[in-house]
């Protein structure tokens, strides 16, 4: 391990933006929020010696990328035992939403993961976000500017496509046993086999196998019908949708929908109407989410060309 050093302001050829530094002092902007135990922030890069974290281990955790030229502050909602102050780092008209963290690899613990999501949700209230996957830490502010610069056109492209859109999750579950009973009531062949088996007049092996096949087929058909009807009825109120693999035995649908903010109420009403129509099904409806299921930007590190 290299000895830990106090990060010094590096002189680079590139002019770095310092706009946000000017806006940094606590000036009561987040008045509506109750902020406790927020360490005093200095306008200059000198950090209070009384701070709990050692100065030299400060990195920056990135939550998401948004479009903004103004320095923004979202309060003390970030990762950390004492939730860190969340602010922005800018390049041109885009910004990364960040907070100070120790430079370390973060475990996906409940607290950490929920904090990551909490920040995204706070930012999402007023901005279109491209969410960052969990656990990305950069060493310095300049490195984040480098990230924004390097992927600028990709970010702009995706921000435009996702503008004023949010994601909703919809999982649909059923009580399999209940559906089987329903099939037994409604399907003549199944009902007949069932009564043959239960009357026990002679060997029932083939009847049982046949019964199993029929029930499985009927379950499959019903599930497919439900799911395609649900997708169909939400088509008009959503921009896009994705069908993820159902998890577990009870789930028949695990979908994400991309919805325009101005259609959010219409989508909401439609989901509730669908829920009422398919009463025996259970709907797990979540959101709004950042558009995790609709954006995939993979980044890698590249060495600069020698002599470049």
């Amino acid at each position: 391990m290299a000895p830990k050093r106090r990060p010094s302001r590096r002189t680079t050829a590139r002019p770095s933006r310092t706009v946000d530094k000017k806006a940094a002092p606590n000036n009561g902007m987040a008045a509506s929020r109750v902020i406790r135990e927020v360490p005093p922030r200095a306008a200059a890069p000198t950090v209070s010696k009384a701070g709990a974290k050692p100065v030299e281990s400060r990195g920056k955790y990135v939550y998401c990328v948004i479009r903004s030229e103004d320095a923004l502050r979202f309060g003390a909602v970030g990762l950390g035992t004492v939730p860190a102050e969340v602010s922005t780092v800018h390049y041109k008209d885009i910004a990364a939403v960040v907070s100070d963290t120790p430079i370390e690899v973060f475990d996906a613990t409940r607290e950490n993961v929920l904090a990551h999501e909490r920040v995204n949700e706070a930012v999402m209230r007023d901005h279109t976000v491209i969410p960052m996957s969990f656990g990305t830490v950069f060493k310095t502010r300049d490195d984040i500017i480098e990230l924004l610069r390097g992927a600028y056109s990709a970010f702009i492209d995706v921000l435009l496509k996702m503008e004023d859109k949010v994601e909703f999750g919809l999982k649909v579950l059923w009580e399999r046993d209940e559906v089987v009973k329903q099939i037994e009531r409604e399907d003549d062949d199944v009902r007949q086999l069932k009564s043959e088996i239960s009357s026990q007049s002679g060997p029932t092996y083939f009847a049982r196998v046949q019964y199993g096949r029929l029930v499985e087929g009927a379950l499959q058909a019903r599930s497919e019908r439900y799911v395609s009807e649900i997708f169909e009825s939400l088509r008009d109120v959503a921009v896009a949708s994705r069908a993820n693999k159902p998890i577990g035995d009870k789930m028949i649908m695990n979908a994400a929908f991309l919805v325009s903010r101005d259609r959010e109420q219409a989508f909401d009403a439609k989901v509730k109407a669908v829920g009422a129509k398919y009463a025996p099904l259970t709907f797990r409806y979540t959101g709004p989410w950042p558009p995790y299921n609709f954006v995939n930007i993979r980044l890698k590190l590249e060495r600069a060309t020698p002599g470049g």
């Binding site: 390097g150 492209d157 998890i247 890698k300």
Partner: protein, 107 residues
């Protein structure tokens, strides 16, 4: 049963489903490297390896496999879901740790 909307951050499983490998994703080993690498001084840069947006309306084909699975009772399935989530976390962690040790072994 009336359908109620719950905000995203209330279900850990739903959050894990999204935040671990969706959105802007930096290569697992790069993510660890960034902890040690100073982009500016090593003259490395972050570049886009791929970019995809999904703006089509799905027809839900091929997502329906659950109906043919054997029935298991609710408790078991909840446990399996929870274990799944835990394993994914574990995998992500091991993967990262693996890269850490690889990095550290280098002179």
């Amino acid at each position: 049963m009336p359908v109620e909307r719950t905000s995203g951050g209330t279900s850990l499983i739903d959050v894990l489903d999204r935040v671990l490998d969706k959105g802007i994703v930096i290569d697992a080993w790069v993510r660890v490297s960034l902890v040690g690498i100073d982009l500016i001084t090593v003259e490395a840069r972050v570049v886009v390896a791929s970019i995809e947006t999904y703006l089509k309306y799905s027809e839900a084909v091929g997502s329906l496999t659950s109906a043919s699975r054997p029935a298991i009772d609710g408790h078991v399935s909840e446990a399996v879901i929870a274990e799944n989530a835990a394993l994914r976390v574990e995998i992500a962690r091991t993967r990262r740790e693996g890269t850490v040790s690889r990095r550290l072994r280098r002179p």
